[in-house]
Symmetry: D2
Subunit: 498 residues, 4 copies
C-alpha cells in the first residue's frame, strides 16, 4: 500500500524517496496480515499472529474484531507487543472474528489515520480491510472518486478499495469483486464484514497468503510462522486470484478473476519471509542455504572464514560455507537490545564510529581472509560500514558475496525501495560497487543461478517465473500511476498530531 504522497510532504516530492534512519540498506516488506474466524478470543490470537509477522512491518499495528453486534478496533504506532499485550486491550477487542495488520511507515511521519485495518461504514454494514501489497493505479482511481464526491480520510491506496465498494451494489462479496476488477497491483487482503472473514490474493499471487486451521477455526496469514506461534496447522496457500470467505458455515472459495500465470515475489525467499516459514511449498531456510551453496559455486573464494551479516545472511552463509568447505563463524555480533530510537549521537560522537547494532568478533577475524555473506545491497551504506568494521578488526582481505542478483530496479508491488537513482546497482557494476563499499571483491548470484537454486534450470519465460522485477525490470503488472505523466491525485496537505 501507500505509494501515494505522504501527508506533510510537498506534492513534488517523490513518494518513496525517504530515508530510513536505522537500516537503510535493506528493502522493506511493507505489511503483514492475519485473520481468524471462530474462537471466542480471536483478537488474542490475531495479536500473537501479528507478533510472529512483526518482521513484515514494525511501525504500526492494528486489530479489528467483530463480536456479532459491533466492531471493536485498536490501532497504534509501534510494535505489536507494545500495544496489544495487555489484557485490557485484548478484552476490549472482543469477538469471534478478527483481522489484523502490521505495517511499515514509508515516510518519516506515520499517522494514525493511515494505520490499518481501515474501517468503513458501508451501506450494508461495517467493513474492515487490511492490505499487503501496493495498487499501481490508485491515483487514477482516486481522482475519479474524488470527482464524484468521495471524501478520502487517509492517504493509503487501500481506501480506494473501500470507496469503490461504497459506490458498488449487492453483497459485500459482490462489491469487493466489483472493486477489485477496477484495481491493478499486487495485493493480499484480509477483510472483516458482518460475520465473515475474507481473504484475497491478486491474480498473479505476488504477495503470500496462507490458510491455516486451529481446531475448527480457519485462519488467514501472510506466512506459516504465524500459524506456528499459536499451534495452528497449515492447510494450503490461497491461490492467485482466489477469494476465500470464512464464516459460520466454514470456508468457501471463489475465483471471479480470469486465470493468469503466477508471479510470486522471489525476494520473499531471499529476505522478506521468516526462515522458519514455508512459502509456496518451500522452506525459506532451505532455499536460502541452497542459494548460498549456488553462490559458492558461482563465486568461490579462497578465504579462511565465512561470516554472515546477521541475522538475515546466516542461512546463505551456512550454505556457502558448507559448499565451499570453509569454516563458518559468527564474526559479527548483533546487539539484541537495539532500540528503534536510540540516541542520535552528536557529531563529536558519531565520528567515533559508534556501533549500536553490530560489533566485530575480533578473535574470529584478525589476520584472516574473510568472506562476508549478505542477502542484498540496496544503497550500499550498511555494506560499506560493515566492511570497514571487519577491516578495523584486523581482516587481511574482505570478500563480499550477495545471495541475490543486483537490485537495479524499484519495486512498485508493496516493497519500499528507493528511487532507482539511489540503488547502488543502478549505475555500477560489481567491480565499481566493490570499490564503493571497500571490499576486495564483490559477487552477486546470477539471475539464472538464483532460479537454479529454486529448482529450475534457468530463468526462462517459457517456464514458471517469479516476480523478479527488482532484478530484471520485467514488471508483470502495469504501472498506471507512474505512466500517466501527471502528478498524483491532488491531495490536501494535512499534518496531524494527536
Amino acid at each position: 500500500m501507500s505509494a501515494e504522497p505522504k501527508e506533510g510532504t510537498s506534492l513534488s516530492m517523490s513518494p518513496t524517496l525517504t530515508t530510513h534512519p536505522y537500516d537503510d540498506d535493506h528493502l522493506r516488506e511493507e505489511c503483514g496480515v492475519f485473520g481468524i474466524y471462530g474462537p471466542e478470543d480471536s483478537a488474542a490470537l490475531v495479536a500473537l499472529g501479528l507478533h510472529a509477522l512483526q518482521h513484515r512491518g514494525q511501525e504500526a499495528a492494528g486489530i479489528v474484531a467483530f463480536d456479532g453486534r459491533q466492531f471493536n478496533a485498536h490501532r497504534a504506532l509501534g510494535q505489536v507487543a507494545d500495544h496489544f499485550s495487555s489484557e485490557k486491550v485484548i478484552d476490549r477487542l472482543s469477538g469471534h472474528a478478527a483481522i489484523g495488520h502490521v505495517r511499515y511507515s514509508t515516510a518519516g511521519e506515520t499517522v494514525l489515520r493511515n494505520v490499518q485495518p481501515l474501517f468503513a461504514d458501508l451501506e450494508f454494514g461495517g467493513f474492515a480491510i487490511a492490505h499487503n501489497g501496493n495498487l499501481t493505479n490508485a491515483y487514477t482511481l482516486r481522482r475519479g472518486l474524488v470527482k464524484r464526491g468521495s471524501l478520502f480520510q487517509s492517504t493509503t491506496d487501500t481506501e480506494v478499495i473501500t470507496h469503490l465498494m461504497a459506490t458498488g451494489s449487492g453483497t459485500v462479496v459482490d462489491r469487493l469483486v466489483q472493486a477489485l476488477r477496477q484495481v491493478e497491483g499486487a495485493y493480499s487482503l484480509v477483510a472483516l464484514a458482518h460475520d465473515r472473514v475474507i481473504g484475497v490474493r491478486d491474480p498473479l499471487g505476488v504477495r503470500p497468503l496462507v490458510i491455516g486451521k486451529l481446531g475448527t477455526s480457519h485462519i488467514l496469514a501472510s506466512e506459516t510462522c504465524a500459524l506456528d506461534i499459536i499451534g495452528a496447522e497449515f492447510v494450503r496457500d490461497v491461490e492467485p486470484g482466489e477469494i476465500v470467505v470464512i464464516g459460520s458455515n466454514g470456508i468457501e472459495s471463489l475465483r471471479p478473476f480470469p486465470q493468469q500465470k503466477k508471479r510470486f515475489c522471489i525476494f520473499e525467499f531471499i529476505y522478506f519471509a521468516r526462515p522458519d516459514s514455508v512459502v509456496e511449498g518451500t522452506s525459506v531456510y532451505d532455499a536460502r542455504k541452497r542459494i548460498g551453496a549456488e553462490l559458492a559455486r558461482e563465486a568461490p573464494s579462497d578465504a579462511d572464514v565465512v561470516i554472515p551479516v546477521p541475522d538475515s545472511g546466516v542461512p546463505a552463509a551456512l550454505g556457502y560455507a558448507e559448499e565451499a568447505k570453509i569454516p563458518f563463524e559468527l564474526g559479527i555480533i548483533r546487539n539484541h537490545y537495539v532500540g528503534r530510537t536510540f540516541i542520535e549521537p552528536s557529531d563529536h560522537i558519531r565520528h567515533l564510529g559508534v556501533r549500536l547494532k553490530h560489533n566485530a568478533n575480533r578473535a574470529m577475524i584478525q589476520g584472516r581472509n574473510v568472506v562476508l555473506v549478505d542477502d542484498s545491497i540496496v544503497r550500499g551504506t550498511t555494506s560499506r560500514k560493515i566492511v570497514e568494521m571487519i577491516r578495523h578488526a584486523g581482516a587481511k582481505q574482505v570478500h563480499m558475496r550477495i545471495s541475490s542478483p543486483p537490485t537495479a530496479h524499484s519495486c512498485f508491488y508493496g516493497i519500499d525501495t528507493p528511487e532507482r537513482e539511489a540503488l547502488l546497482a543502478y549505475k555500477n557494476d560489481a567491480d565499481s560497487m566493490a570499490k564503493l563499499i571497500g571490499a576486495d571483491s564483490l559477487a552477486f548470484i546470477s539471475i539464472d543461478g538464483l532460479y537454479r537454486a529454486m529448482g529450475m534450470p534457468r530463468r526462462d519465460p517459457a517456464l514458471p517465473l517469479y516476480c523478479d522485477a527488482c532484478f530484471t525490470g520485467d514488471y508483470p503488472i502495469p504501472l498506471t500511476d507512474r505512466s500517466d505523466g501527471r502528478p498524483p491525485a491532488q491531495l490536501s496537505l494535512l499534518t496531524e498530531s494527536a
Copy 2:
C-alpha cells in the same frame, strides 16, 4: 452537533440517554468555536480563545491551521490547557489562519475521530470545519449520502456538511451554500479553506457567533469573552443566516438564505454563556441579576440569608438578595481543585456523604432560614444533595428558587439534555419537585417573568421571541430525524481505542 447514535452503543439506545458522572444536573452546551485570519501565530490565539470558551465543552479540543501551503492539525481528548499549552504543539500548528473547537462528549466514550474541526480533502482542496449546534435532519441526509456511496468516518452530524459539499460544485462558498440549503437545525460554524476563514450562523440564529478584531486581523468566536482574553475588540454579532468570509482582502458578508425571524437560545443567558460575555447586545451577568430580581418579586421568601449554588447561581442570587433585601452569603464553598476523575469512593466511603465539589459554610447557615438560588433543575439529583447538605449544616428552613422556568422538554439544537422522561419537571409540578429534592419550598421564575427580565412585557409570539423550546415545547426548527419514525441511519458499531 452529534445527536446521532454514538459508537459503542446499541442502535436501539436513545442517543441522548447518557449519564454524566460528575454533574448530572445541568444541561450542557455542546460546543464552542473560534477562528482567526491574519496573525502569524494564529494557532496560539485560537488556543487562548478556546481556553476562554472552555465552559462550552471540556472533553475534547482541536485546532487546524493553514500556512499557505498545508493544513496542520492537532486534536485531543481533554481540556485546551492540557493539550495546547506547549510551544511544541503550537509551533507545529503554524499558519496565519486557524480555527478551533471545544466539545462535550455526549456519550461515555468520546473518540478521537469525532473531535473537531473535521478535515476533508475536497476536490478543490483541504477544508476544515467546526460546529456549534445540532442538525435535525442529519440522519435523513446521511442515509441518502451513504446510498450514493459516501463513506462516513465519524458519527458527527458535521460530517454530513462536508459530504454534501463533496457532491456539490463550484467554489468552496458555493458548495457550502449548496450544502447548508439542505440541512436543518441550529448551527454556528467556523470553517477554514485555502486562505479563507468562514463563519456561518443558521437562519434563526439559535447559537451565538460574534465578529472581533485584533489589529487588522478578523476573528470569529462563540462569545465575547474569547475576544477579551486576547485583548481583541468586539465588532458585531454574525447575523442569523449570514455567511462571513475572511481573507487577505478583509471581510465579506453573504446572505444566501431567505430572511427568518430570529430565535436566539434564551438558555445562553440563563446558564451557558460566561457571565462576562455580552451576548446579543446584553451583558449576561446583568441579565442574570435581573432574572434574580424578577424571581425575588415573583417568589419572595421570608428568609435570613440568600445563598447561591456556586458558581452559576451567583449573579441571580445577588439580584435576588438585592431585590429582597436579604443578606447574601457564600454559604457553599466550592473546591476549585476538583479533578474530573477523582476516586470513585467505595460503598463504605460513599455512604459517608463525601463532598468532593462543595462544602457547606456552616457558620453562615446554622440556625437560619436559607434561600438557595440556582439556575435550573434538570434531573434534580444535585439539588437534592445540596439541600441535604444545607440542612445537615443546621439550616432551619431551605427554600429553593430557580432562575429559569421548569425544564420540561428536551433540546435538539445543540444542548445535551436527557430524554424528556428523565427531566424532573416532565411529570412533576413545583410542589412535588420540592418534596423530591427535600426543600421547604421551591419556585421557578415564570416564562413571562423571564421575558420581562429580558426587557419584554411578556412572552408574546407577536413580539420577538427567543428559542425557549426546553421550557415551552415550541420548537422553531423541524425535528425531521425525530419525526420520520425510522431508526437513525444505519451505522456500523465501531468502538475504537488508540
Copy 3:
C-alpha cells in the same frame, strides 16, 4: 519545611528568591497534613482529606499507609486528584492507618525525593513523617549530623527530625521527643509508626492541627474542611506543644515541652485557610467578613461598587460592602479552567495583555468608581495588572483596599515569602504603593484594626498575640540558621530526573 537551598541551584543563590510563574502576588502556605487510624480503607480517606487541603500545597502529594505488616507508599508531583484518584493506587495503599501530605515546591524543580511523607527505616521499625511548618535551626543541626556520619537523602528540613530520632534511643515517642527538643521552628506534624499515628504541634502552635473523629476512628488534619469532606466531626485543636498518639487503644495526649504562650499565625485567617474551615474556634469566612467591615470603617471610600479580587478577596469584600452600604458585584470573572502550565505566550502575544486567569466584567465597571478588595499585596505585580484591567474596562476611579496590614517582613515559619527586598511594602508607604500599582487610592487595615476584627481591643503584648511577624517583624521563634552568618550546611548539588 524546606527553607534550605534547593538542589540544582548554586549555593550562593538565596533559597527563597524564586519566582512563581502563575501567581506571584500571594504568599503560599507550604503544606497540609492528614492522618487517620482505624478504618480499613484509610488511604482512600487520606486522599479525600488531602484533596480538601489542596489549597495548602499543589505541587506534590504523598500517602503512606501501614497494614499491620508493611508500609505502603505512593508519592507524586502534582495534585491529589491527578495521582490518588484511581482504585489501583488506593488499593495498593492498603492499611488501617495512614498519613498524607500536600506541599508546595518553593523552587522551580520539585524532586520526588523531597516529596513527603518521608519514610525512614529506624532501628525500631519503619517511620513516616509529614510536616507543615519550617525548622529555623535545620542547617545547624544538619551540619552536626553529617559530621557524625548521617547520610541525608533529601534537602527537606523534615529529614533532620528522622536523623535525630535515628541517633536517639527508646521507643518511637521517646525518640520523637528527644528529636523535637533539639529543633526550633514552627511545625505541625503527623507521623506513622508501627500501629500508631502521631500528631504534634510546636510549643507556640504557629500552624494549625485539629483532631477529628469518624465513627471510632481518630483523625488529624490541618483544617476542619478536611474533616467535612468525609463527614467526620471536629473534636478539638491539638494544643501547642501537645503530642497526640493514636492507636488501637484510642487516643493519648502527652505534653513533654514546657508551657509557652500561643502564637497562632494570623495569616491563616487572612488568606491561607479555607473560608469554610473553623480555625482556633473561629469561622474563617466570618473572620474575613469582620476584617472587611473593619477595613470599611478604617478606610471608607465614596465609590459606586465593591469588587472583590477573586476568589480570596470575596468574604472581605462582602464585609466591606455591607458595612459601607455600597453594592457588591462580581466585577472580575475568574476562569476556572486555568491550567497550571498554559502556553507561555510569545512576546508578540504577551503584549496584547492576555488574561488567562481573570476577565473584567465590563458591564459592572464601565463609568463607575470602583473599590477593589484584596487580601494582601506581596510584590504588587498582580495588583498592578488587575488595576489596569479594571481601568481598561472603563472604571472612572479605582480604590484598592487590602484586608491585611502591609506585608513588610519575610516569614520563616512555613510560608513561602520572597526575600524582604522583593516585598512591595518593604520600602514603600501606601501612597507610593498606590502609585506603583496605578490605583487612585490604596489603604491597608491597621495592625490594631486587624486585632479588633479578631475580637481584641488592639495588638497588645499583655494580651494574647498571634504570630504577625510578616507585618510587625516580631519573630517569636529564634532564626538560628539565619543568624549564624555561615552559609547553609554544605549540600552536594544533585539534580535528578526519573
Copy 4:
C-alpha cells in the same frame, strides 16, 4: 548487589526465591557498570556503554554525571535505549565525568530507590557509586550501622558502602578504603566523586572490570564490548584488589588490600559475558567454541544435525559440530521482537503451546536425530519446552548437550540463582534429568573438561582456579550473612510507587 530481602516481601521469605516470568532457565548476571572521565559529553558515552552491557541487567539503568559544579542524575526502570536515548535526557546529564549502571531486579518489584548509581551527600561532597557483585556480610554491617543511627534509604547492599564511608574520615579514597576493608564479597565498583572517577575490583577479582581509553579519556567498563561500541581501545583489566583513580591528572593505581589468589567467575565465559568480549585475556566466543569441542569429545552423539538453543548456545554448538563433524543448522528460530511483557495468554490459549520466543525450523528437524546444545540447565523448565518443541517438529531423537557442569549450588557473589532446592541438578543425576526434560540423552561437560577447554590440564587447587562454586560448592569468600543464623538485618517493609 542485593542479596538482601526485597521490599514488599515478608521477612521470612528467602531473598532469592523469586521467579523470572520470562526466562526462568538461565542464571542472571545482576549488573554492569561503566565510567568515563574526560569528554564533554560523557553521559552520552556512558549511555552507549551501558547499551552494550544491556545483557548484564535489563530492568533498570542509571547515570550520574558531574559537571564541575553539580551532580546530575537520571535513573529509570527499563532498558537503556528506552530512557537514555533522547537528547533531552542526555543534555541534562551534562558533565565531563560520569558513571552508569544496568541491573536486574531480583524481586517482582524493582523500585526506583534501589536503582543505581546510588548517590550520597557525604561530608566532603557528593559521591555516586555503582556496583556489580554482591556483599556477603552486608546484613551484619547494616545491623551495626543502624544501631549507631544510620538511616538506610534503599535495600541494596551497596548502600552499606556509602554509610561506612560517611562514618569514616579523610579523603574520598581514604574513606572508600576504610569501607572496603570492612566488607566481604565480590564486587566491581565504579564511583564518581568531585572530579574523580574511581574503579575497584574485589581482592579475588570475581567480577570483571576493564580499563579502556578513548583519545585522552580513560574508561572503566564491565566488558570490552562496551569499549568497542564507542570505538575505544582496551588497555588492561583492573587487577584484583586494585583501586584505580581517574582525574584531570590521568590515572593512578592503588593496592591497599593484601594480595590474594585470583578467583574469576568461570560462568562469565560460559554464559554471562558477550561473545565478542575479551575477558581476562581470552575471547569469550573462542572459549565457548573450545568448550563445545571438548563437550563433543566427552559426550559424542551419533546424530544427523547439531542445533543450538539460541542465542547463547550457538558458539558451543559450532564447536561441537566442527569437532563432531555433524552439520550445524539453525533449527530453532528466535523472534527478535519479543517484548518483555507480551500478553499473558489466557488458559484457553496457553494450552495451544504458544511460542512467543522460539519456533522450530521444521525443515531442518523432521525425521532427524538431533543434538541440542545449550549452555546450562537451571530449573529445567525451558529445556523441557524446547525438547518438546523439537520433538513436535518431527525429530526422531533428541540428545541434549550442556556446555557447563551441572549447576548444583547457589551463587552468592552477584548472580541471581534460585535456592539450591530449585536447581534441577541439586538432587538429580544426568539420567534422571534427561527423563525430566524428555531428552533421549543428556550430558554435561565435566569440571575437568571445562578447565581443559580453558587451557589447564584439570581443576587442581595447586594451579590457578576460577570461582566455580555453583558447580563445586567451593565458596572462596565467606558467607557471613548466611552463616550467622540470625534473620537478615531488620528492615521495615516499604512498598513504594511513584
